[in-house]
């Protein structure tokens, strides 16, 4: 199955933000994020199968994006990026917002993916479990630990 330019651009506009967010949260720099997003859409063009519905398509993009980012992270030279080197730190009027943003970026992968899918995309824990091929209980644990982790960072490690 191949997509027409119109179909592709429609899909691209529908998912670019989500994919970019997800990739950026994992890779933490703009250049790698752009490479990853490009790879995701190239893989989509090569995928060639019809999706059952939009939900299926969205889940495919999420899983593919996270897999591509994980692959990129496996390259040794990316492992030890320090938070100070992030090249995309937004300026916000409220410093607290910026702190949450940094806290999310600095979370382990397993937490931020779950947090993103649960809070931002609105998936249920069992849906996330299915998508990430993990038990629901693990996802629930990750959510709890992620909240605790974020809180700890935001509280400056005082709690």
């Amino acid at each position: 199955m191949s997509y027409s330019d119109r179909e592709f651009i429609s899909t691209y506009n529908r998912y670019i933000d989500m994919i970019y967010r997800l990739c950026f949260s994992i890779l933490k720099n703009r250049e790698d994020t752009e490479d990853a997003v490009q790879s995701v859409f190239i893989r989509y063009l090569k995928y060639g199968k019809k999706f059952e519905n939009e939900r299926h398509e969205k889940a495919w993009f999420i899983v593919t994006s996270s897999n591509i980012c994980k692959d990129m992270l496996r390259q040794s030279w990316r492992h030890n990026i320090r938070i100070e080197t992030y090249d995309f730190i937004p300026h916000t009027e409220n410093p607290a917002d910026s702190d949450i943003y940094m806290a999310i970026l600095d979370s382990p992968y397993k937490y931020k993916a779950v947090v993103y899918l649960y809070y931002y995309e609105g998936y249920k824990t069992h849906e996330i479990a299915e998508m990430l091929h993990k038990p629901s209980s693990t996802i629930r644990n990750h959510l709890t630990e992620a909240r605790r982790h974020l809180k700890k960072i935001l509280d400056g490690g005082n709690s």
Partner: protein, 310 residues
């Protein structure tokens, strides 16, 4: 920490419109380059496939060249023609003057005979063509019995097949006799009437009886895979092999597979595959040979007796 704050934090990661446009352009460029690469890849695959096929073909031709004398001869014929242009002219002349074909030779002779070029007093009958019948005297000789102008008599033309350079040979008239018809009829009874098939065999098959009888003491056998193990055969076994090879069926067609087993008698090699199909190679000429099952088992036992693997 509220959910809104988390969502708001994620929203800060959204790409701006220029980034989106940039990524889209990069994807389109990659796809175009991919299409070009695919074409290159297809071309390369085709080239590799073609090269592989060419190598296989060359390999097969090389194997066939090494394994098959018939193929080798064909290649030589193709690449190195046997005849020079002068020889070809000479052969053409031979055909034009009827020097090669037996019928042409005979009819040319009869024409000359009727023109009394040989100082003869009588002529041969010519009514809607010459009246003659052909008989085989021996392997290389034919007799033509021709009606003549004197009642109660006929003319017997002696024709002989001679080797001529690299050709299949030529027919020549070597003499003629004027005989009474009853004597001629008696002669015919002792001869085999000519037929095209039989004559073809006479002119093209090796004279196996002569070849085998003359060399009973010099028969060797071997397996082509064990060329170091060439074995001479004792006199009694030679007779057995001679009888078998004399009796087996021969033809102008060579069939069969890998001719692995060789019986060599002077310059003539009899080569067989494991099921009895084979080839005779005599002085660079080739004929097909087939050994019947019972004879094959005898030859097989002889090979084993002389410790040659079969």
């Amino acid at each position: 920490m509220s959910d809104d704050k988390i969502i708001s934090a994620w929203n800060k990661m959204n790409p701006d419109s220029s980034t989106k446009e940039k990524i889209l352009l990069q994807i389109q460029d990659t796809v175009k380059a991919g299409k070009k690469n695919n074409l290159t890849l297809i071309f390369r695959r085709f080239a590799v496939g073609f090269a592989a096929a060419a190598v296989l073909l060359l390999g097969s031709l090389g194997t066939a060249y090494a394994a098959s004398p018939a193929f080798r001869e064909y290649v030589h014929l193709l690449l190195f023609p046997l005849y020079t242009s002068e020889e070809i002219i000479s052969i053409d002349n031979g055909h034009m003057t009827g020097s090669f074909d037996k019928t042409d030779v005979l009819l040319s002779f009869l024409d000359k005979f009727n023109r009394k070029e040989f100082g003869n007093a009588i002529t041969v009958t010519k009514e809607n063509g010459y009246h003659y019948s052909l008989f085989i005297q021996n392997m290389n000789q034919l007799l033509a019995f021709v009606d003549c102008s004197i009642e109660g008599y006929c003319i017997v033309i002696h024709m002989e097949h001679e080797a001529y350079e690299s050709t299949d040979g030529i027919w020549q008239v070597t003499g003629y006799q004027i005989l009474e018809k009853p004597i001629a009829e008696n002669m015919k009874k002792q001869l085999e009437p000519y037929s095209d098939t039989l004559t073809e065999k006479i002119t093209s098959l090796p004279q196996e009886n002569t070849a085998i009888k003359g060399t009973e003491d010099s028969i060797v056998m071997y397996n082509v895979n064990e060329k170091e193990n060439v074995v001479s055969i004792n006199k009694d076994d030679c007779k057995v092999i001679s009888n078998i090879l004399s009796a087996c069926e021969k033809s102008n067609d060579i069939s069969g597979g890998l001719f692995q087993y060789v019986i060599k008698i002077n310059d003539t090699s009899y080569m067989f595959d494991s099921v009895g199909n084979g080839m005779i190679d005599s002085s660079g000429k080739h004929w097909g040979i087939t050994i019947c099952e019972s004879d094959l088992s005898v030859i097989k036992s002889l090979f084993k007796l002389y410790n040659i693997s079969w």
